[in-house]
């Protein structure tokens, strides 16, 4: 199995839950696997709940409405109520559908998102596994969710679903290239694939963040935001589920719990993308203010986890803002943007970054000497 660092979450769980040690020995590993697996699932579900509520409120405010107000203060329990309703719904599988694939599809999509959460560092030690190839791992397993979506589109045996799935396949394969270029650029700067290493490189004053590392990193930053929107099939790239053309694309035939799993997976993926933007470019769990970052103990952990969640939700908000502002782009515009804008700009930025790292390795702007004493 891939290397884990000593501070990995799995060992802390053993400390936190001493009764695990009293179980018969052969149950240790299954129990540990179960408990560790439970954490991402919980986080995904919570993020899903909050995300859906947030989307409703944000869209409402942008359209000068109130949004959900009935259940709980400000309608905060609305999503929970919807979730309970969806669980109680009849489980419908269309007669002509490809039954095994139809059942498997939402699971595959959810597993894809679940796997993403494993490599997200919420704090230096709060990460399920700090893989040595963390960022590469993320890029690799990001494609598993797509498999689920294509599976759903095929299994539904519905032309809208099939068209949606085909658009999804084309779009995701296309936008993997700019995403990959952006990731490579970040790796050039950080010198490591490990997610924790990448964040630790950005420790210190916020000028250490990768977005300020060299004069072209903001290009990569923007390219990554755009490409991640496309990978997430969020508006304005929501061609795979374009409501006005394809009913609702690949999940047209899905209802009840299966539909909600797709939904949660989508919001989970959105959160991962937002957290990734924060981790790769904006210091991850560090606030950028040295004395806050140096606090030890439980307070420090709270500050850092809070910082990551704060940044991630800011980008979640950005995604919603874009969704309710921009109209959907056409298929050809989508490809144009990818191959003729993002890829060339990304490549140029990557090459400039590589040279910058060769000439001025280390602290970027800091090493230029105009901000003495502010470095790490």
């Amino acid at each position: 199995m891939p290397e884990t660092t000593t501070g990995a979450l799995i060992y802390q769980i053993l400390e936190l839950l001493p009764f695990l040690k009293e179980l018969p020995e052969f149950l240790h590993i299954p129990m540990l696997m179960f408990v560790t697996g439970l954490i991402p699932v919980t986080v995904i579900s919570l993020v899903g709940l909050v995300g859906v509520y947030m989307e409703r409120k944000v869209s409402a405010f942008m359209q000068i409405r109130l949004g959900p107000m009935e259940y709980g203060p400000w309608g905060t329990l609305q999503t929970l109520a919807d979730g309970i309703k969806l669980m109680g719904k009849e489980d419908i599988i269309p007669r002509e559908a490809d039954k095994p694939l139809f059942i498997l599809a939402p699971i595959a999509a959810f597993v894809g998102v679940f796997l993403l959460f494993i490599a997200i560092p919420f704090d230096r030690d709060i990460i399920v596994v700090d893989l040595n190839v963390g960022i590469f791992y993320l890029a690799a397993v990001a494609s598993i969710e797509v498999v689920g979506i294509i599976m759903a589109g095929w299994a539904s045996n519905n032309k809208w679903s099939l068209l949606g799935a085909m658009r999804e396949a084309a779009q995701v394969v296309a936008y993997e290239i700019p995403v990959g270029i952006c990731l490579v650029t970040v790796v050039i700067v950080s010198g490591s694939f490990s997610m924790v290493d990448i964040v630790e490189e950005q420790k210190g004053l916020f000028l250490n963040w990768f977005i300020f590392r060299n004069p072209v990193m903001w290009v990569v930053f923007i390219a990554f935001i755009i490409a991640s929107l496309a990978e997430l099939k969020r508006a304005p790239f929501d061609l795979p589920e374009a409501e006005s053309e394809l009913v609702s694309g690949f999940h047209t035939e899905y209802s009840g719990m299966r539909f909600s799993i797709f939904f949660i997976a989508e919001y989970g993926a959105m959160f991962v993308a937002s957290a990734l933007i924060a981790i790769l470019f904006l210091g991850g769990y560090y606030t950028g203010i040295p004395f806050l970052d140096n606090i030890d103990g439980i307070l420090g952990i709270l500050i850092r986890v809070g910082a990551l969640f704060g940044k991630a939700f800011a980008f979640l908000f950005l995604q919603m803002w874009i969704r309710w502002t921009l109209p959907r782009i056409r298929l050809d515009q989508m490809f144009y943007l990818c191959y003729k804008v993002l890829v060339p700009f990304g490549f140029v930025a990557m090459i400039i970054t590589a040279f910058w790292q060769m000439v001025l390795p280390g602290d970027g702007f800091m090493s230029l000497g105009w901000a003495p004493g502010l470095g790490k």
């Binding site: 950080s190 010198g191 490591s192 290493d197 630790e200 490189e201 390795p361 280390g362």
Partner: protein
């Protein structure tokens, strides 16, 4: 922990950079080809779609420059790029052969009216990529490099085979070529992975000492056999020959000519290097574990040679399309050349010289034959053998030249084909493979029938029409005559051609 703290070892880095610099000095021909291929693609993309003829000049110029650089390569043998390539007179010779073949192919493409104007930029770019792959095949000494080189040559070939416009037959040929090719390359890759598992090294030279240690191992034999199967595909030899007729017929004639000589030459170059490290002279081979049956490499290759030439010749007897017939004839010639490989003796390079010389002769002969086919089909608009009726009077020059080329393919004096075949047969006899030499003799006799049939059509049968065709264009005349001259001259220079005498392998 952080990679940033991992300081670059500057001294090792400087050594590495100077090593790369040294390697590049022996790599200029390939670099020039690589630059030319990018330039051709970019020129076609950016500057011009209309003046596609310019890309032909660019491709020709780049190949010519590359050929000139091959002749200027330093002569002392050494290894390039940490053992990936060998720079020795052996690889230089084969690179030169491949590049000459390419020069002729570029000219043939311009000669072939069927191709003019059809997206020639990409065609030449991909053709040059194929040449680059073949040149790397000629010099690779690492199995990863061999695989990549074969793959580069194959992938490019699949594309240019489909070049013919409005041709379903071309697409079909390309598809067949690609499907058989992927099977062959999968076999080869599997063999390479087995060899890596057994030796722990990817170097071809590393097989040498291992071959003796594991001479009794069936697994080793199977692994080598799989690699050889992949190579047999590229040189159109049994048991991987069945793609040949369809592809040769469906591809544009210039591409067929290119594949029949350059691809074969490159594959034989690898085969020779590979077999030399196995040292077949020292009776290594596959031995069944209980010691009953022993198959040494010499007999395996000899049987492959005999079967290949017999199959090719027998099938060629019944062909009505001249490209198809030349395709089967090319299988037969792979068999003759394998005869030389079977007679390989590392100590005195006996088989090497015969194979190298024959490949040089075959280059001119076969390209010449295909050049005449193009010249004729430009006028006659047909590639059927029937259409050659009465050609001796209606197009006297191409008919005469085709006679020379066919004589050379048969191996009759006074053409170079005779000298080449003589050397091959002598190598086999010196090695004691009398039965193989006799098989070769019988096969040559059989082949006389179908080559002579064309001559019969051209000179002894009359067509209804008597008026002579207009003379071929200047390019056609220059090409066909220019290819016929070496075929005649090499007979007289023959064994005295010192070039193939001094071939030596690195390692």
């Amino acid at each position: 922990m952080l990679a940033a703290t991992k300081q670059l070892d500057t001294k090792a880095f400087a050594e590495f950079v100077s090593g790369v610099g040294d390697s590049v000095a022996g790599f200029w021909p390939e670099i020039v080809l690589g630059i030319t291929l990018c330039a051709v693609l970019l020129y076609d993309l950016v500057l011009s779609r209309e003046r596609s003829k310019n890309t032909a000049y660019m491709a020709f110029g780049g190949t010519l420059l590359s050929l000139a650089l091959v002749f200027m390569l330093p002569s002392e043998p050494r290894s390039l790029f940490s053992g990936m390539l060998a720079l020795d007179s052996f690889s230089t010779f084969f690179k030169a052969v491949i590049l000459i073949g390419t020069l002729v192919t570029v000219a043939l493409t311009q000669l072939d009216k069927e191709n003019i104007g059809a997206r020639l930029g990409e065609y030449y770019g991909i053709l040059l990529a194929a040449v680059l792959g073949m040149m790397l095949m000629a010099s690779s000494t690492n199995m990863i490099m061999i695989y990549l080189a074969v793959e580069l040559a194959s992938l490019s070939s699949y594309v240019i085979v489909a070049h013919r416009r409005q041709s379903r037959i071309g697409s079909e040929a390309s598809l067949k070529y690609a499907i058989y090719g992927s099977v062959a390359s999968a076999l080869m890759l599997y063999g390479i992975s087995l060899l890596f598992g057994m030796t722990g090294s990817l170097s071809v030279m590393g097989l040498a000492d291992l071959g003796i240690r594991m001479a009794t191992d069936v697994g080793f034999g199977i692994a080598v056999g799989l690699v050889l199967a992949g190579l047999a595909y590229k040189m159109a030899a049994f048991p991987m020959h069945f793609w040949v007729p369809d592809v040769y017929q469906g591809a544009p004639t210039a591409v067929t000519a290119f594949l029949s000589v350059a691809s074969k030459t490159a594959a034989f170059a690898i085969l020779l290097r590979f077999m030399a490290s196995l040292d077949p002279g020292s009776a290594t081979g596959i031995k069944m574990a209980d010691g009953g049956l022993f198959l040494d490499w010499t007999s395996i290759l000899a049987v492959a040679a005999a079967v290949t030439m017999t199959l090719g010749n027998l099938a060629a007897l019944f062909q009505t399309n001249i490209k198809r017939m030349l395709g089967y004839s090319s299988i037969a010639h792979a068999g003759y050349i394998l005869m030389g490989v079977a007679a390989l003796e590392v100590s005195d390079y006996a088989g090497f010289k015969a194979v190298a010389f024959y490949l040089l002769v075959y280059l001119f002969t076969n390209l010449g034959a295909f050049a005449v086919v193009i010249v004729v089909s430009n006028q006659v608009k047909s590639e059927e053998i029937e259409a050659y009726k009465g050609l001796g009077t209606r197009m006297w020059l191409p008919a005469l030249l085709l006679t020379i080329f066919l004589f050379s393919l048969i191996g009759m004096p006074p053409t170079a084909g005779f000298t080449g075949k003589f050397l091959l047969f002598r190598a086999a006899i010196d090695k004691g493979l009398y039965w193989l030499a006799i098989m070769g003799g019988i096969n040559t006799a059989v082949s006389v029938y179908y080559y002579m049939r064309i001559l019969k059509f051209m000179y002894l049968e009359d067509s209804a029409e008597k008026t002579p065709y207009p003379a071929p264009c200047l390019l056609g005349k220059v090409l066909t005559v220019g290819l016929a001259l070496p075929v005649l001259l090499l007979f007289f220079l023959g064994a005295a051609a010192g070039w193939t005498k001094n071939l030596s392998l690195l390692g």
